[in-house]
């Protein structure tokens, strides 16, 4: 980094210079979090990975193919992530100041790229190290192979960072590259004979137990080549893209710090650019039909979101069926299905959120707030019913699970998550009372309470999922959660605006 860049960054950092006390508190926080949170989690991960079951999983014949697929997915994800939030990211003002001076981006933005790369590389190295160590501890792999695989993990991290930056610098090319990565990754996982010809195949061949040293060398060579190209890629970053990403990320961090995760997520939500000539509003005598068509056309204007939503609903339906299979971890699958259903409803409930917004503002539409909200419920309700019922029927027929219990469970869960969506839309801002500190012998519980408040809809969806899978054993649980959710939704409705 040049002296000029360093000077500019020094001035920026001096704005929020930390006192000795601040630094001491940060060190204290770091060690406490490491001791109370990170250490137990790390221990649990290691105990699971090194257990008989964990080692058997890592030593299964399918493990190298799965690893190749996971790596391909991670690289595709990095390319796509770079389009929205790349590693070359600084605060908006600093971005503007450093991107408009006569210095290369490889000089002014090297810092954040290297820091992001170090984080990613550390994560992949640790993941590879855990897998390799688990196999060595059970005598299922040689230490040399384990070491080589850990090095491949580090190389994967470097390649991931490079792809992340490439996604940021070449946002248009990132989509075909990501799709190519996924397709070739799937092909490599399916056809083992293709592994020597692709980097993700190289990762599979470097897996402990196979331990191909030539594959290790190939992957590491690719990582070195891509690392060497990072300055060139950084110099291709445009000011407009850097500024836009910096502004978005700044907004996201501000909203997330205020526990407003919905607004934070909405900042990265895809904006419609298609279907503008499709008539979304068709005046009819029955307003419910008009609103149904309006919501349906509105959803198709962001096709990627809509498809993702439908896939999530399908996945939720399938998980509910699996939850009713004998020996399945029913409660876990139910909770995941609830969260998935809640997430999948997101792209279908844009109209609902708009209605909630309108209901808290000055009168705009010529119908009551309640009728507006009800009309906007029709599309998500219909779509969810169709997708979830189809998924349940198909999955039940495929797996041989009796269809009625999961069908009842899925329908109940669909209704509950829709109630959660309505309630979430009406939630409003964080109440000042929740900002008060709550000192306890374990520390300030205020932050935890605020986090629960921010994520209440997701947590409730998970609990609803659990109760829906227990619909036959203890329906009282489902009745209880339904009553509580309805009570909260009605209270928020009355307090709107």
């Amino acid at each position: 980094m040049s002296a000029r860049s360093e000077a500019a960054i020094r001035v920026w950092r001096a704005r929020s210079a930390r006192t000795v006390g601040d630094r001491g508190y940060l060190v204290y926080m770091f060690f406490m979090v490491a001791l109370v949170v990170a250490a137990p989690v790390a221990r649990a991960v290691w105990l699971s990975a090194s257990s008989m079951e964990g080692a058997a999983l890592f030593a299964s014949p399918a493990a190298p193919a799965v690893t190749a697929l996971v790596v391909a997915c991670v690289w595709a994800g990095a390319l796509l992530l770079g389009r929205e939030r790349g590693p070359a990211l600084r605060p908006p003002f600093l971005t503007h100041a450093l991107a408009t001076i006569d210095l290369h981006r490889s000089d002014t933005f090297a810092g954040p790229v290297l820091r992001a790369g170090a984080m990613v590389t550390a994560s992949t190295t640790i993941a590879a190290g855990v897998v390799a160590s688990s196999l060595v501890s059970r005598g299922l792999a040689e230490p040399l192979h384990a070491l080589a695989f850990t090095a491949v993990g580090a190389a994967v991290g470097i390649i991931t960072t490079a792809f992340w930056l490439i996604g940021q610098a070449f946002s248009r090319a990132a989509i075909p590259l990501a799709l190519g990565s996924l397709a070739l990754g799937a092909a490599t996982a399916t056809f083992p004979s293709t592994r020597p010809f692709s980097p993700w195949g190289g990762v599979a061949l470097a897996y402990p137990g196979i331990g191909s040293m030539s594959a290790v060398a190939t992957v590491c060579a690719l990582a070195i080549a891509l690392a060497a190209s990072l300055p060139t890629v950084m110099n291709r970053l445009s000011h407009a893209e850097l500024a836009a990403q910096a502004a978005r990320w700044d907004s996201v961090t501000i909203h997330a710090a205020g526990m407003d995760f919905s607004t934070a997520a909405a900042i990265y939500q895809g904006r419609p650019h298609r279907g503008r000539r499709l008539r979304a509003v068709r005046p009819m005598n029955r307003l419910s039909v008009t609103f149904f068509i309006r919501d349906a056309v509105g959803a198709t204007r962001t096709p990627g979101r809509l498809i993702a939503g439908i896939l999530a609903l399908t996945g939720a339906g399938a998980l509910i069926v699996l939850a009713f299979a004998p020996t399945a971890p029913s409660l876990l699958l139910g909770a995941v299905a609830g969260v998935l259903l809640f997430t999948g409803l997101g792209p279908l409930t844009d109209g609902l959120r708009h209605a909630a917004y309108v209901a808290s503002d000055l009168p705009l539409y010529g119908i009551s707030d309640a009728r507006l909200l009800t009309n906007h419920l029709l599309f998500p309700l219909t779509m969810t019913a169709i997708v979830v019922i189809t998924a349940v029927l198909v999955c039940a027929a495929t797996t041989g699970v009796a269809v009625i219990p999961p069908l009842l469970s899925a329908l109940a869960l669909a209704l509950l998550t829709l109630v959660a969506r309505v309630s979430n839309a009406l939630k409003g801002p964080l109440q000042p009372a929740l900002l008060a500190p709550m000192p306890t012998p374990m520390g300030d519980l205020g932050a935890a309470i605020r986090l629960v408040w921010a994520l209440d809809a997701v947590l409730v969806a998970a609990i609803a999922g659990v109760s829906a899978t227990l619909i036959l054993q203890t329906p009282i649980l489902l009745v209880g959660i339904t009553s509580a959710m309805l009570a909260v939704a009605v209270r928020r409705w009355r307090q709107r605006g």
Partner: protein, 253 residues
């Protein structure tokens, strides 16, 4: 005073045509006024008597009394912090006054009262916009919920967009508009519905002088149709263009 909606060319004729049907079978949930005539004692469309708003020790709106008849325009002016927006919020029924009496059309104000909602349209800040709808969709949806005939909603939408010079932008999404265009779009959504009282908070915001002039023309036309206008503005051009009685608010706090 009789509320002669027949003096509002675009809506009154339709309301009158619909009246016989509406009397026998009112449409569920719609807020279209079926009673085209009204009579109340004072004859003023807007009555504010000694209205003030305070918050603790802070005065947001010092005591003010105004009256306006049908077709009048109240131009609310004053420095920043004088209480202009609070004045409008009280009239729009979203802020309760600490003291005093407010009546519109002889009735108390309240944004959730269906009769009040039908009578009063307000734009205090931009109205809520849906990211997945185009400008045309937005305005048409608003008009559709108010109009009883689908054809009327389409005609109203086209007229309002044309009036504000937005016809060429009708296929754009809200995020594709400049700030001035967004302001005009907010106005279009507000004007796409029937009303007897129109409350606007600085509609000239973000607009160039040419557009301020066209907004003044549009508002003057509404006034000539019998709409009572209440307008907070810092623009002399807009105030002069609309005409009417100026209400100067002093420093509130």
């Amino acid at each position: 005073m009789r509320l002669g909606l027949e003096r509002t060319p675009d809506w009154a004729a339709v309301l009158q045509r619909q009246l016989p049907v509406a009397r026998t079978r009112p449409p569920r949930g719609r807020l279209v006024e079926l009673r085209v005539c009204g009579l109340w004692e004072s004859g003023f469309m807007i009555e504010m008597d000694d209205v003030c708003v305070t918050m603790g020790d802070v005065t947001l709106l010092a005591a003010v009394s105004v009256r306006a008849r049908r077709g009048d325009a109240l131009i609310v002016r004053g420095r920043n912090g004088a209480g202009k927006s609070t004045f409008l919020r009280v009239l729009a029924g979203v802020r309760k006054p600490t003291a005093g009496l407010v009546r519109i059309g002889g009735a108390d104000v309240g944004e959730r009262d269906l009769e009040f909602r039908r009578r009063v349209a307000a734009m205090i800040g931009l109205p809520p916009m849906a990211p997945d709808l185009t400008l045309y969709d937005h305005v048409l949806l608003v008009a559709t919920t108010w109009a009883r005939a689908p054809g009327l909603a389409v005609a109203t939408t086209r007229d309002v967009l044309a009036e504000l010079g937005l016809s060429g932008l009708s296929e754009r999404f809200p995020h594709e508009l400049s700030s001035g265009q967004t302001q005009l779009f907010g106005l279009a959504m507000t004007l796409a519905r029937p009303f007897e009282v129109l409350i606007l908070d600085e509609p000239e915001q973000r607009l160039d002088p040419e557009h301020v002039e066209s907004v003044a023309r549009v508002l003057r036309a509404r006034r000539e149709r019998g709409v009572t206008l209440v307008l907070a503005t810092h623009s002399s051009a807009l105030a002069d263009g609309v005409g009417g009685q100026t209400v100067w608010l002093g420093a509130a706090a």
